[in-house]
Symmetry: C2
Subunit: 261 residues, 2 copies
């Protein structure tokens, strides 16, 4: 029912509490973002972590100042009510899942909006490629790797990757397409033998759902937005808020505007 | 001794007969071309073959008119004397290998200059990638595949590919780099399992020399300039001239000017 809404219209239904679930497939053509909210005294290290690890943590926008709940570059947004579902963490443990965080807002909170794979999946589909998790109607499979992120202060950890299988010629095409979109994870980080990045079994993803990989296909791995969440949980800040998985901030920014060429 | 010469200076030593061998490594930074020379009544079909198969047959320049031995877009060139070694084919059979074809020139001959892998290998090396055949000091291994070229008149055949092994992250980088250079074969056409493109044994190339492929590497395959030569031999035109393998036309065009972005 909300599938045909503009980003502004969709956010209105989210703000009012009418739409509370997944945003996948909504407002096609527009950028959806992963959200991390931290106290200002943790924000600088997290910003550096994103800058040092741009493939898993592609920063699209941040608050203009601590306590400011708007994100003007992304639209007329109140970050306290415009995400369908939030997760609240205290000392690294999730304590609540809420449809609105207005009551928890503080003057020292800083918001980070990070790019998400929905944008590049749309570009792959528009080029005629088959994206297996979309075809199968499941969440993309995600895996913890043995690839170290570059640490920044308390933030560190291994890179998490998402996987989509392709025949070799389509994998090469996917590299070309995704290279145009560095702010939504960019080109893949690995393809072929999963063991080389510490992934033991493609059928047992650490997050999301397994998908089929045919004999003539290569698994292709992209840096994944779960990476900053894992780093966040390991850093155990006293207070943090994220979006709930799949329940993204829908922005007014067109996916095509993220293309660097 | 001629290694430090400009393209113009190098062509002078070739024209005079002083330099007769391989041009690999000479005039670094400048485009070297595969050469095919055909009678005008065969030229149109060959031109269409190149246009229909741009990855193995990337056309960089052609004669302005039949019988014209110059190629102004590529420098002050006399195609009859500026290639170190030529192969002459009659009815599809090689009959002579000559350092100069001035005596064989005819008013109906048309020259085709095609891009060559030396240009993209230079871009890969400049980016810090290891190119195995360069490290090993051997010719790149080349293989006949089961990939059909699009036929044009009498010209048809399977695509020939060259192979360079890379770790996955470098293979992805190689796709990005070579995508910028469509006129020197562009992005790879395949990577991973050689059997999927009809290559049975990497250790037994059809042309060139085998190179090592380590356990953590993927073989990466590029469309190869031997493809038009194979199509030419199969078409059996009554008369044709090509460069001898490795003895290319050295041009005044900088490799960097072939980059589309």
């Amino acid at each position: 029912m909300s599938g045909h809404l503009s980003p502004q219209g969709l956010r209105q239904t989210i703000r009012s509490g009418e739409h509370r679930g997944n945003t996948s497939g909504y407002a096609p053509g527009y950028v959806q973002c992963n959200i991390v909210i931290l106290p200002a005294d943790w924000a600088n290290d997290f910003l550096r972590f994103c800058q040092l690890n741009p493939k898993p943590c592609p920063l699209i926008a941040t608050s203009a100042a601590p306590g400011d709940a708007t994100l003007p570059p992304l639209g007329d947004i109140d970050i306290r009510s415009d995400v369908p579902s939030y997760r609240v963490f205290r000392d690294g443990e999730m304590t609540e899942e809420l449809p609105d965080i207005t009551g928890l807002w503080r003057d020292d909170l800083v918001t980070f909006a990070l790019g998400c794979s929905f944008s590049f999946e749309e570009a792959l589909l528009a080029d005629g490629l088959e994206v297996r998790n979309v075809t199968a109607g499941v969440n993309v499979p995600m895996y913890r790797t043995n690839i170290d992120c570059t640490p920044a202060g308390p933030f560190s950890g291994k890179m998490v990757v998402s996987m989509r299988p392709f025949q070799a010629a389509d994998a090469i095409r996917a590299v070309q397409i995704c290279t145009r979109f560095p702010s939504v994870h960019g080109a893949p980080v690995h393809l072929g033998d999963p063991g080389l990045i510490g992934v033991a079994d493609l059928d047992s993803p650490d997050y999301g759902d397994a998908v089929s990989v045919e004999r003539d296909e290569l698994p292709v791995f992209w840096a994944c937005g779960v990476t900053p969440q894992v780093a966040l949980e390991a850093a155990r800040p006293p207070f943090a808020i994220t979006h709930s998985p799949g329940c993204m901030l829908v922005t007014d920014l067109r996916n095509s505007r993220l293309a660097v060429l």
